[in-house]
């Protein structure tokens, strides 16, 4: 039997070194006894009785182990690093026993059904939770002068596991510009002028009163909503054992006791008359032009379109506005102007526009009565020889077009919008995903009801004649359904 005594400080690393040496030496778990908490200066391998020589060998081994290669999965190293801070005296033995099995079967580390691993993971979780609670519920009090260049604070905390040491770097990262002292029963951590140091644990020190605690308790009392009392939920996250060191916890019993009567009083209180100033403020606020900016007109839009056309970037055509009655009940939104539309300065006059016209007529949808426009206002292309090749609009084109389309919708105020293709769907409903599933349906949007279908150019691009005919039929059915929906909306 061999006894390994681990130091109180830097325990996780000491365990790892020791375990590595023992594995290299093939010492089975049942032959090792682990202890922790020896004075910090003592030797790592403290031999008891007849184990002395063997431990000497282990020491040699520890020095030599760099050359002996034994690869442990990274996730086990992390697990051990955390479990080593657990307060269970069995923790080192459990880790070593698992490590022993891991030698032959490294995949064991992924086996969440293994009972030994499940236990270690549970311990890991307990340590992590304890660390988390210490980060959360530790409370500092000021122990120096508030106007000192480097302020000084101290806290007393009682963690369930040995987490003060591994947490010290966290507090150092967080409270970098002040000195602090964290006292716990098993370990004291100190941070002075940027240096962390440790000392043994101490009993609870007497810390000076701190006036900020009253402000904090005031906040705690006021942020509580008595109409939604959920004591169990609070206690699940903030168990009572922590309360004694938290200044605000003293207020809890009172808050719980009064909650019901406070909530009832709010409910039973009769509505009061609004204060005098309310009327005056409301009157001023609702004067025309105060809340809503002045509306644009079609003339403003046309002027702006001309301005932007003059300054259009390379690869972009002119701004092509929509066309149709300014009070049309139906607005049709396509993708962007094409080559023909750009040359003529009118929407829907190219091949897609013609297809749309034909199918619309068959479906009983009167294009002349609709306001026809595009989600993106400028033709985007790359020049190839004499031809301009259409480019799909990107995100910034769509965002740019959104402003124009918004303005047009506000002016026309259509009863129904017919959205054709992905770009229009993205602009109007926020997403182009699943357009083939969503087609033929109406979606409620900020712009009112939007009827979704595909873009006519989608049909033009289908090479197979039979499929093309089938898709044209579907498109026709969509347009007819849109027309029917529009009539329904207008009748309502």
């Amino acid at each position: 039997m061999r006894t390994v005594a681990l130091p109180d400080l830097d325990t996780a690393r000491a365990w790892r070194d020791a375990a590595r040496a023992l594995v290299a030496e093939s010492v089975p778990p049942e032959d090792v006894q682990w202890t922790c908490g020896a004075p910090e200066q003592t030797d790592l391998f403290q031999a008891t009785g007849q184990g002395r020589e063997a431990d000497g060998a282990a020491r040699t081994c520890a020095r030599r182990q760099a050359s002996v290669s034994f690869n442990v999965p990274k996730s086990f190293v992390d697990l051990a690093e955390t479990v080593a801070w657990h307060s269970d005296p069995e923790r080192f033995a459990r880790l070593y026993a698992f490590l022993w099995r891991l030698r032959d079967r490294p995949v064991l580390i992924h086996d969440r059904g293994d009972a030994a691993l499940a236990k270690l993971r549970a311990m890991e979780k307990e340590v992590n939770r304890d660390k988390h609670k210490m980060k959360a519920f530790l409370r500092f009090r000021e122990i120096g002068a508030p106007d000192a260049p480097r302020r000084r604070f101290a806290a007393w905390f009682e963690p369930s596991h040995n987490v003060t040491e591994p947490l010290a770097p966290f507090f150092a990262r967080r409270f970098g510009d002040m000195d602090w002292l964290i006292v716990t029963p098993r370990r004291t951590a100190c941070f002075e002028r940027g240096e962390i140091s440790f000392a043994p644990g101490q009993p609870k020190p007497l810390l000076p009163e701190d006036a900020t605690e009253d402000l904090w308790t005031t906040y705690f009392r006021s942020i509580f909503n008595p109409a939604r009392l959920k004591v169990k939920a609070m206690q699940a996250e903030m168990p009572k054992k922590y309360w004694k060191n938290m200044p605000e916890a003293a207020a809890i019993p009172g808050l719980i006791a009064q909650a019901e009567s406070r909530a009832r009083a709010m409910q039973e209180a009769a509505p009061t008359l609004p204060p005098l100033r309310a009327g005056r403020i409301r009157e001023r606020l609702h004067a025309p032009g105060v809340l809503r900016p002045m509306e644009l007109t079609f003339n403003d839009l046309r002027r702006k379109a001309e301005d932007e056309t003059r300054t259009a970037r390379d690869g972009y055509g002119r701004v092509v506005l929509g066309e149709g009655p300014h009070d049309a009940p139906l607005m049709v939104v396509g993708e962007q102007p094409g080559d023909v539309e750009d040359r003529e300065g009118r929407p829907f006059v190219g091949p897609s526009g013609q297809l749309f016209d034909n199918v619309a007529e068959e479906a009983g949808l009167d294009r002349k009565a609709a306001y026809v426009t595009n989600a993106v206002k400028q033709f985007r292309y790359v020049q190839r020889g004499k031809r301009r090749i259409h480019q799909s609009p990107d995100r910034s084109d769509i965002e740019h077009g959104r402003w124009w389309l918004d303005a047009e919708i506000k002016l026309v105020k259509p009863t129904l919008i017919l959205s054709m293709g992905g770009t229009a769907a993205e602009t109007l409903t926020g997403t182009r995903k699943g357009i083939l599933k969503r087609r033929g349906h109406v979606e409620e949007t900020e712009h009112g009801p939007v009827f979704l279908t595909v873009h006519p150019s989608y049909i033009l691009r289908i090479p197979d004649a039979a499929r093309k005919a089938k898709e044209t039929d579907l498109f026709r059915a969509d347009l007819a359904a849109a027309q029917a929906h529009l009539e329904e909306l207008r009748a309502a």
């Binding site: 969440r112 939604r228 509505p271 809340l291 900020e446």
Partner: protein
């Protein structure tokens, strides 16, 4: 102004935190990593948030959640600070907010500041004051903790731009599930400008991720993203409407979170909205459904189709309700099923599913393994089959739902 001068800092804190408590969000997670190990500032953010205390309403207290002022020129019916309410009014000076934030932070009470405000004078003036507070904290005091600013929707874009550079998170509340209810209960708010502001934040966030042509990264803009809140139970909207709105917000504006806040009695309420017991259970079910949408691959229609009236069942959770309505898909073979299907088993969380997937690569799973992997077997049992367990006829028993639903109990008056 004179009356206000007599309020102590403690009085103001009581008034202005009381006024802020109806905002549910208190998250302090998911932002850029920062620390003050260099000794030149104060604070750190390391990914996961920390809840420094819990109030008896079960809510976490992570941030100093206060209003800059609860004076407000708007008249939103559901709000304790509306112009027509008779609550006590107060106003912090920017220095007071900075002082409270730093002193609380130094004592490890908080992760940072969540600053909101009533609208005073004009949206721009209010927003400018809030930005100034965030700027002072960051630049004069080297504060590296978390800052969440509630944006004023009508404020100028330049102010929004600055807010995003100092704050970790920005939020704008959509408040109510439909435009119609915003119009009737918050007459001065405009849903269109709210959405416009949200889309501006999204664009600025996306732009801040693109490198310039020299490969330089622009300053991070609101690294913890944007969130919003919707009040549940003040208007007649169904859960289907609310969840539909959430989906649009998540996809359309890239929101990190939508918070649901059960409409709760407030002091000095208006006659417009009768005070009821806050629908806490409904709020809880909405959060569960929200999780199913974001992490479990459910579509809104699937979740809401389980009940005919468009509201989620209150007695059982939405995933279980879905499974009970789709029993033909069960039992699922845990050793073979795909990830998508495993995620749909009641009692299996995302972590459990990941553990199942990694372990079954090496060996066949048995029934005993599942609870060690974190599965809630009481819920999962009728829906799974694997070595050592077969549900037999249990999956299709007519009274399966009744086994999960809690026994009916007498509702207390309040």
């Amino acid at each position: 102004m004179n009356a206000m001068g007599r309020l102590s800092l403690q009085d103001k804190l009581a008034i202005l935190s009381d006024a802020a408590k109806y905002d549910a969000s208190c998250a302090s997670s998911g932002t850029a990593r920062r620390d003050s190990r260099d000794g030149k500032g104060l604070g750190s953010t390391e990914g996961s948030g920390i809840c420094h205390a819990y109030a008896p309403d079960g809510r976490c207290i992570s941030l100093l959640k206060i209003l800059m002022t609860n004076f407000c020129i708007y008249d939103c019916a559901y709000c304790v600070n509306r112009v027509s309410s008779n609550v006590r009014r107060a106003r912090f000076s920017p220095e007071e907010v900075v002082h409270l934030t730093l002193e609380f932070y130094r004592r490890n009470y908080i992760e940072g500041l969540f600053l909101s405000s009533g609208i005073i004078r004009s949206p721009d003036a209010t927003m400018a004051d809030m930005v100034r507070i965030a700027k002072t904290l960051r630049e004069e005091h080297g504060f590296r903790g978390y800052i969440h600013l509630k944006t004023i929707p009508d404020a100028a874009p330049e102010l929004l731009e600055q807010a995003g550079l100092y704050a970790d998170r920005l939020s704008i509340n959509v408040e109510l599930p439909t435009d119609a209810s915003v119009k009737s209960y918050a007459p001065e708010k405009n849903p269109v400008t709210i959405r416009k502001a949200m889309s501006e934040v999204r664009q600025k966030r996306e732009a801040s991720r693109d490198r310039s042509h020299t490969g330089k990264r622009p300053a991070r803009f609101a690294p913890a993203g944007q969130s919003t809140q919707v009040i549940v139970g003040a208007d007649g909207a169904t859960d289907a409407t609310i969840l539909g709105q959430s989906t649009r917000l998540y996809t359309g504006f890239g929101l990190k979170r939508v918070y649901y806040s059960a409409f709760s009695p407030i002091p000095d309420a208006t006659a417009k909205l009768p005070l009821i017991r806050p629908p806490l259970e409904r709020e809880h079910r909405l959060y569960q459904a929200d999780w199913l949408l974001r992490f479990y691959g459910f579509a809104v229609e699937e979740i809401t189709a389980a009940t005919p009236d468009g509201n989620l069942a209150l007695d059982i959770d939405p995933k279980l309700a879905w499974a009970l309505a789709n029993r033909h898909l069960f039992p699922v073979d845990v050793n073979r099923a795909e990830r998508e299907m495993l995620l749909r088993v009641p009692g299996f969380g995302t972590k459990t599913v990941n553990r199942i997937l990694t372990t079954r690569r090496h060996r066949t799973l048995r029934y005993e393994d599942l609870s060690r992997m974190g599965a809630l077997m009481k819920k999962a049992r009728p829906f799974v089959t694997l070595a050592g367990w077969s549900p037999g006829a249990l999956t299709d028993t007519p009274d399966l739902r009744a086994r999960f639903a809690p026994p009916p109990e007498q509702l207390s008056l309040f």
